[in-house]
């Protein structure tokens, strides 16, 4: 299935600029991001369960950076939300964001597979 531009989880033009116009390389990186999301989410869930706000903050910060690198705006925004809650210590607000992050991760993985190279 080919995603339409409105479904695009990232600013494709911007992301291609970052990879020097290399679509194959962008696809590899997006696949990496798609793989990283469930791992980071699992790490954040564990940290929430043991009330480790600092790990919540740093894991979310790293995920935000990875997303921003590929101009994945929505994922970066959601990650920032988790990072801020980690910093504030309001860990009870994190779970709903994690669910959205997981969906966004799946969307990125699908987009990566559909990206013409």
């Amino acid at each position: 299935m080919i995603e339409t531009m409105s479904d695009c989880p990232l600013d494709l033009e911007e992301a291609l600029a970052r990879t020097g116009g290399d679509r194959q390389f962008l696809r590899e990186l997006l696949e990496m991001l798609g793989e990283d999301v469930p791992q980071r989410v699992a790490a954040i869930r564990e940290a929430v369960a043991r009330s480790d706000a600092e790990t919540v903050r740093s894991e979310a910060h790293t995920l935000k950076g990875a997303a921003a690198n590929l101009a994945a705006g929505r994922l970066a925004e959601l990650s920032l939300g988790v990072e801020e809650r980690g910093r504030a210590g309001t860990l009870d607000e994190v779970e709903p964001l994690l669910a959205s992050i997981e969906r966004e991760g799946e969307r990125i993985a699908r987009f990566a597979r559909s990206l013409p190279t």
Binding site: A17, G20, M32, G65, A68
Partner: protein, 316 residues
Amino acid sequence: MRILIAEDERISRELLRRALENIRHEVIAVTDGLEAWNHIVDESADIRLVIADWMMPGLDGIELTRRIRSAGFRHYVYVIMLTSRGQRQDVIDGLSAGADDYVIKPFDPGELFFRVRCGLRIVDLEEQLAARNRELERMAMVDGLTAIPNRRAFDDDLGRRILECQRYRRPFALLMIDIDQFKNYNDTLGHAAGDSALRRIALVLKRALRGTDDVYRYGGEEFACILPETDEDGAMLVAERLRAAVEAEKIPHPGTAPGVVTVSVGVTVHRPQHPDSPSWIVENADRALYRAKRAGRNRISGPQQATCTGGFPVLK
């Protein structure tokens, strides 16, 4: 020369690697600060520019930078830190820890290119400066005219020999060599001829010495030799060989009796029980040299007030 990337987040790491490889740099990419440090201290890795993320497991960017700055490497290591937008305090902390520059993530490949180029320019300038300093250091120890070690090198080496003599309880010999009637040579034949004679004599002395001995230009027409592990008998043999070698070179000299350039040599031997003062040792050799001069030049004089010429010791 390689660039080291230290970044635990793999997408950012791969983007950096690609951006740098695209501009033809050799890159090593690692995932934590300790691994980065291991590469940086490994001289064969030849890392001159480091791009380090600020938050890393093991050793963070600040600590890594502090280590680099306090290590005193032979070459300058240029550090660019990677930080996220809005982390102003990170930038301040990083620069105060000794980072040279910073790049904000997500980075723009074009901007990175120029920042890296700027860093490499500094690394290059530092290298040129270091090479020039090494050359100046070498030149500071070499006599410009004769290309043998100079007075400064002599002072350094003599000090070291005295320490070795005390520590290992072994003697060494010092020879002071003076060209006979050299002022007269210069006055008669000109300074260009004088310079040329000095060069030739330096060469003759060097050739006549053993591999472990050193010859220095001590001053105007004076040379000095340090002979490690050498006692009176050995030193007198070497001194006589030097004297004979200069005479055999047959550099014409209208002002001396044999009609050629000759030298007088004063010999002293330093032992562990002697005063450890360089000037005391040099004065002993000078006194011996003076005796050789007074006895008629073109001869050698040893520490026991013995003089000899042509290989025949003569007691005074």
